[in-house]
């Protein structure tokens, strides 16, 4: 296939423009058809990237190179390795899921809504495949706009505060990253990522650059203590927005650590490793304890996301293959599980207009199939073996024991805390007698919702039982990454 990455990026954007600009020419039905076929096509077009991907190669594959802004040697340079491919597939798949989910919903200006998601999908795939710093930066920043609109227009009551907070938080970090890129341009003479990789830098410079990247990516993941935008954003975002935010947008941070911060400043990363590990451990335990006392289901899942992302950062910062790979599996797995949980909360909210745990109780009496699925995802969220939630946590805990017993010990506390907040919520919301009037009026989920949640559940199971399906893709890239990280980039003098 010709230029698969370009197609993967621009197909959803093309459909998005179609949906946004030509509203008046089409009826509602046709707009829905465009949206779903756009989602489907965008997904199908990414499948060959996985099919034709060479698992054994350490090089970037499907590279596309075109000159763009010559004087500054900025190029349209795309390419993927084992870190990008699963995330690209996840992005296009999740976009398809949210479009399917909201196809018949009564959201105002549905075509714009779908357009925003398709736009974002293309831009995020751009982030995952850009090999030029400026190209990457443009995708990275542009992606904020659709999300800003999704929360700001279709969000809850306090949406303006949430959007501003979300936007400023992220932009503050990104600007420092831009400064780092410009510095690297003057040192390397181009904006090519591959040039950055081989650029010798002194330790103080590396540390500054690392911190600049860190500010951008740590906010995105998010790490403690720059996480407070996420619960607000999630609570105010519409369900579909939460799904994409949790499933993919957070992963941009993890991916970018692997793609930019670490290989460009490996010595700084090794130097700062203890601090980074401590921050990750704080995220895992501190946030899990906070999740325990949440009254709002969506907030609870948002905090749980941050805690799980703590495993991602911990795994990456351990800088050994099992840790990095575990972090990666955790990212993919969290994409499915958190998406499913947000969809579940959305289903309840749509019927009762409350997300407060105390407003529920005994939902199982009215919605047995739905409850079965929720219990499954809650178990996956608490890392039950056989689900994907276990694989990443297991690998990261195993890897951290190689660094220190106590790191493993603190990380392993999540076994208890994760189960506590997930299952305590299940107990209070789903089990018991149905006494509340709102609960008594609940209706079982429809076929479409069963298909969506069922699909997500089967992915969670497949990854849990056959995790090699993912690790086989990333093995070579991870080994290469860790070897690269162990080589110093300090100037030889």
């Amino acid at each position: 296939m010709v230029a698969p990455l370009t197609l993967a990026i621009w197909t959803p954007i093309f459909f998005s423009i179609l949906l946004i600009c030509f509203t008046n020419y089409f009826s509602k039905k046709i707009l829905s058809a465009i949206a779903i076929s756009g989602g489907l096509l965008s997904f199908l077009i990414t499948v060959p990237i996985l099919m034709e991907f060479n698992y054994e190669s350490v090089l970037f594959q499907f590279q596309e190179f075109h000159h763009w802004i010559l004087p500054y040697r900025i190029n349209y340079h795309l390419g993927v390795d084992g870190f990008s491919v699963p995330l690209i597939l996840l992005t296009s798949f999740m976009t398809l899921i949210v479009i399917f989910l909201t196809l018949k919903s009564e959201i105002k200006n549905l075509n714009y809504f779908h357009g925003a998601f398709l736009m974002m999908s293309g831009l995020m795939i751009g982030v995952f495949s850009a090999l030029d710093a400026i190209l990457y930066y443009i995708f990275w920043e542009a992606m904020l706009i659709p999300m800003f609109l999704i929360i700001g227009i279709w969000g809850g009551t306090n949406r303006i505060y949430a959007t501003i907070k979300f936007f400023l938080y992220t932009v503050l970090g990104s600007l420092l990253m831009l400064v780092a890129f410009i510095y690297l341009f003057f040192e390397a003479g181009s904006f090519s990522l591959l040039d950055f990789y081989h650029l010798p830098l002194t330790l103080p410079v590396q540390i500054l650059i690392f911190i600049a990247f860190f500010m951008a990516f740590a906010v995105k993941i998010p790490m403690w203590p720059v996480h407070t935008w996420l619960p607000d954003a999630h609570v105010e975002a519409p369900t579909a927005g939460s799904v994409i935010l949790a499933a993919i947008m957070l992963k941009l941070g993890g991916y970018s650590f692997l793609r930019f911060a670490f290989p460009i400043a490996p010595d700084a990363a090794n130097f700062l490793q203890p601090v980074l590990i401590i921050l990750s451990l704080i995220a895992i335990v501190y946030i899990a304890v906070i999740a325990l006392v949440q009254q709002d289901m969506k907030k609870l899942i948002a905090y749980s996301s941050i805690s799980h992302m703590g495993f991602v950062t911990l795994g990456i910062f351990l800088l050994i293959p099992m840790g990095v790979e575990g972090a990666y599996v955790q990212m993919i797995s969290h994409g499915f599980i958190s998406a499913a949980l947000f969809i579940c909360v959305g289903i309840l909210y749509d019927q009762t207009h409350s997300r407060q745990i105390k407003d529920y109780g005994g939902v199982i009496n009215k919605m047995p199939i739905f409850t079965a699925l929720v219990v499954f995802f809650a178990m996956a969220n608490s890392g039950l073996p056989g689900t994907s939630g276990f694989v990443g946590e297991f690998m990261v805990i195993m890897a951290s024991a190689q660094e220190s017993f106590w790191i493993a010990f603190i990380a392993a506390l999540t076994l208890l805390l994760g189960a506590a907040y997930s299952l305590w919520m299940v107990k209070r919301v789903f089990y018991g007698k149905a006494t509340n009037k709102a609960v008594l009026n609940l209706k079982e989920i429809n076929k479409q919702q069963i298909i969506i949640l069922g699909t997500l559940a089967s992915f969670v199971l497949i990854i849990g039982l056959f995790p090699f399906l993912i690790t086989d893709i990333t093995n070579v890239t991870v080994d290469n990454f860790v070897q690269f990280m162990n080589r110093s980039k300090l100037p030889l003098s």
Binding site: V289, V375, M398, F405, L416
Partner: protein
């Protein structure tokens, strides 16, 4: 068909049945649900018998199903390790499971969750078989958590009962505490041995015997002590040893068949099985073995005492299970692993029998579980009565019954053990026999003998129980046949198999004992003549007299020959302590859980919202906003303001340049 395919049938047939029944059970008739699952477990039982047959003829082997994942230099595989220990466990698990399946057809007949229940117990059989057949720590953990999941689902089976959904959450979380230990132990093993395969790890164990690792600064501990204690913490969760035992009594909220299958016969013995399976590691740490011995002995005695004051028929048996698990644990601690497995097996039969018989009584009593409302049931439910009596006799250790052989050997090996804590353990186990006899006899007499108390009961429970004019009926045949089938091994299995299992070399390939230091078990083996003589000798031992004393005291109290003044100071204190279960629940719920929630609220409201959000995030925004208000005074639009500022600026510039 290759062997691995045959072995695979055992776990995967129940799994398949479970999935089919779980998805489509409600669409077809009940026959589909119970037929499919029971048949699949029956099939698994035949495979288990076949496996036991070939392994007892010298077969053992390792099989790999598939590679779970590979990362860096590590690979993780799913596979089977087939030897005598595995085969015996498979037979016990599938046999009890089969009995419970058949029993459930009758017991749950009118429950709306009929097919869901069958789906769960078949899933349990799958997970338990994966656990015992595993050849590596990863799959062990899979099975471990799998049975935990099913236990969670089944304790909360009646999800409308507040106590049930409290109990299942508690069970899962307490088990998770143990799992932290288990997982950390596995992590250390992976780091030091480079593999999670049992055989590879055992092979490399000797080389690391004197390895020390540093925990805090210069404080170091032996690697094996740390690993073994961590692994045992996992076992303490699953096998309900003090202080992680708190979930098991509450788990009785689940339907009775699963109390028999999961919370008595199989799942709770997973910890015992694990330690026996990992005997080559535990043999390398005296510290860990002492720890195990002391924990086990404490559990055996304290939980036995608890059994005496319970009034719920299932809770009496639950505390009895806890106490018996303590016996098994002591056997592990004194390096008599095969004895622990032997007691595990006999206990599985007689305890499953007791629970199922209790379930039969509960049906007869229309779901009234309070033994103070029962009495003289022997008249109405003869089969239940006889089988319950046989089970009780086995439990208290009547000579020639199965429980006698296993318990007697545990006490004897503990007596000869040299390990630190074994003296304490010996006396605790011996006194435990008294309490076992006491609570068992009390239970038996109150349920099956005496007057028919439900007829004169003043306070009536509106939902459950018999009215004073009703009488209980013997349960249907699907219920009584499993009772009879379980009663047979409860009586004879000890006599029949002790020679093969303990004295012969049945376990010699699966279990390692460091004969140089742990000689106690071989002493016992040398003393043993034959099961008949051992039975006769059993009438002359100290435990036997304590047992008689226990029976006597129970009878005297029940017949009101002894009146205990329940208002005296001593009994009141004792009762307070026992009714609160030594305060473990109080500590967990009133302090630990509460503190954690306070801590969570503190972090959330004070740190996240107040400090980070208010000062660090919104603070700068607010500051800039305020500054802008101040700064806007420079942009008033009045010319004389601007002129004034220009003059000040001019002066400043002039000062600056003049200085240059």
């Amino acid at each position: 068909m290759q062997l691995i395919h045959i072995f695979s049938i055992a776990p995967f047939a129940p799994l398949l049945a479970s999935i089919l029944v779980g998805l489509f059970g409600n669409k077809f008739s009940k026959v589909f649900s119970y037929g499919l699952t029971t048949a699949s477990v029956g099939l698994a039982f035949f495979v288990a018998i076949y496996t036991l047959y070939i392994t007892s003829h010298g077969f053992s082997g390792e099989f790999t199903l598939y590679q779970w994942l590979s990362t860096g230099s590590y690979t993780f595989e799913i596979g089977f390790m087939i030897d005598n220990l595995t085969a015996l466990m498979m037979v016990v698990v599938t046999f009890v499971s089969l009995m419970v399946h058949i029993y459930t057809i009758g017991y749950m007949r009118d429950d709306p969750g009929f097919s869901r229940f069958f789906s769960y117990i078949s899933l349990f059989t799958f997970a338990m078989l994966m656990l015992v057949m595993s050849n590596n720590f990863l799959q062990l953990f899979f099975g471990w958590e799998g049975v935990g999941l099913v236990s969670y689902l089944l304790i909360g089976f009646w999800y409308q009962k507040p106590t049930a959904i409290h109990a299942n959450l508690k069970a899962f979380l307490v088990n998770r505490v143990g799992d932290i230990g288990l997982l950390l132990g596995v992590a250390l093993i992976l780091f030091w041995f480079g593999s999670l395969d049992y055989q590879t790890v055992f092979g490399r164990a000797a080389a690391l015997e004197s390895q020390e690792i540093f925990l805090v600064g210069d404080f170091s501990v032996s690697l094996f002590s740390l690993i073994c204690i961590l692994l045992f913490i996992g076992a303490m969760g699953k096998s309900a040893q003090i202080p992680l035992h708190v979930w098991l009594p509450d788990s009785m909220e689940g339907p009775t068949p699963i109390s028999a299958l999961i919370h008595a016969a199989t799942m709770v013995t997973a910890g015992i099985f694990m330690v026996a399976r990992l005997s080559p590691l535990f043999e390398l740490s005296e510290t860990a073995l002492s720890f195990i011995t002391i924990i086990g002995a404490t559990t055996a005695i304290l939980m036995g005492i608890m059994g005496v004051i319970q009034n719920d028929i299932k809770r009496v048996i639950a505390f009895s299970t806890l106490s018996q698990l303590g016996y098994m644990t002591v056997a592990l601690g004194v390096s008599a692993y095969s004895v622990a497995i032997f007691h595990l097996m006999t206990h599985a039969f007689f305890k499953a029998l007791l629970f199922l018989a209790a379930g039969s009584v509960i049906i007869g009593m229309h779901h009234d579980q309070d033994i103070r409302h029962m009495g003289n049931i022997k008249k109405y439910m003869p089969i239940t009565w006889i089988t319950f009596l046989l089970g009780s006799l086995a439990l208290i250790g009547t000579p020639f019954f199965s429980g006698f052989y296993s318990k007697e050997i545990i006490i004897e090996t503990t007596k000869y053990s040299q390990i630190f804590g074994s003296d304490y353990a010996y006396w605790m186990l011996v006194f435990g026999v008294f309490f076992t006899a006491l609570y068992s006899t009390r239970l038996y007499l109150m349920v099956f003998h005496g007057t028919e108390k439900w007829k004169t009961l003043k306070l009536k429970n509106t939902h459950h129980g018999l009215s004073s004019s009703q009488i209980p009926f013997e349960s249907s045949r699907v219920v009584t046949i499993p009772l009879i089938l379980l009663a047979i091994p409860s009586v004879i299995i000890g006599y029949v198999s002790i020679q093969t299992l303990l004295i012969g070399d049945f376990f010699s390939t699966s279990i390692t004992i460091n004969q140089a230091i742990h000689t106690n078990f071989s002493v016992i083996q040398d003393h043993f003549n034959n099961p008949f003589k051992m039975g006769l000798h059993g009438f002359l031992t100290l435990p036997f007299f304590l047992m008689l004393l226990g029976i006597l005291v129970a009878w005297l109290i029940n017949a009101k020959y002894i009146n205990i003044n329940i208002e005296s100071k001593v009994t009141r204190y004792a009762r307070e302590i026992l009714q609160h279960g030594y305060g473990f629940d109080h500590l967990n719920e009133k302090y630990l859980a509460k503190w954690l929630r306070y801590f969570g609220s503190f972090l959330w409201l004070k740190i996240d919202i107040n400090l980070i959000d208010r000062y660090l995030v919104n603070g700068p925004a607010y500051f800039i906003n305020r500054m802008a208000y101040k700064l806007k005074n420079f942009q008033t639009g009045y010319i004389y303001h601007y002129a004034f500022i220009m003059i000040i600026g001019l002066f400043l510039l002039m000062t600056f340049f003049i200085k240059l």
